[in-house]
Amino acid sequence: MIEIHLLMLLITVLIGLIFSYLAIIEKDLLKAIGYSAIQAIAYAIAFYILMAPDIVLAYIAIAVGIYSALLVFVVSKTGRYEVV
């Protein structure tokens, strides 16, 4: 039975890996924020599977809501595209 928990955890962690990679190589910063939000959702599910409901409650509000809003504000004040 614990294998099922671990497999679900593995999937969320892999989603986190893929989307953080996409967020870091993306040149359009708004898209990068979107990818980073998806990574945050995956990690929230991972925290839930790891039996940490306290952290889920704080993490969902902060990483998906407040943090994305903060970054959108910052991007709107600075510039949308990253020049590499």
Partner: protein, 133 residues
């Protein structure tokens, strides 16, 4: 099987940390550095919570289900380690406040120098210093 999946999970998290370190050090844009920095922090938090997990079934969150001595016995046998969770909760909120501070600094840099690209920024800083001498 369990050991294999467990090591895949830990290695994936370490790989995420590596990728975010690449983002922090090699990407020129300060906002991108901030995004990479939060990914780094989140992954570190997840790794800390992961170290408090128990590979048994059933496993329970660290909240006493009912206030009796019998429940306590099974609770101690099944519950995960509460200490990493308590540390991570404050880390999440405080990390957010520190990120707000960094974000404000980035906006202020953009106002003063007109760019958030580290390469141009270093050029402009050299110009400013040269002007003063």
């Amino acid at each position: 099987m369990i050991a294999f999946i467990w090591s895949v999970i830990i290695l994936t998290l370490i790989a995420t940390i590596m990728i975010s370190l690449y983002g922090i050090s090699r990407r020129p844009n300060l906002v991108k550095k901030l995004i990479a920095l939060t990914i780094f922090g989140d992954t570190a938090n997840l790794l800390v919570v992961l170290l408090g997990y128990r590979l048994i079934y059933p496993v329970a969150p660290p909240i006493l289900p009912s206030l009796s001595k019998e429940a306590l016995q099974t609770f101690v046998k099944t519950a995960v380690d509460p200490l990493p969770q308590a540390l991570v909760i404050t880390a999440v909120v405080i990390g957010m406040a520190v990120n707000v501070l960094i974000a404000f600094a980035i906006v202020q840099i953009h106002r003063l120098y007109g760019t958030v690209d580290t390469r141009e920024l270093s050029k402009k800083l050299i110009q400013v210093e040269g002007g003063e001498q």
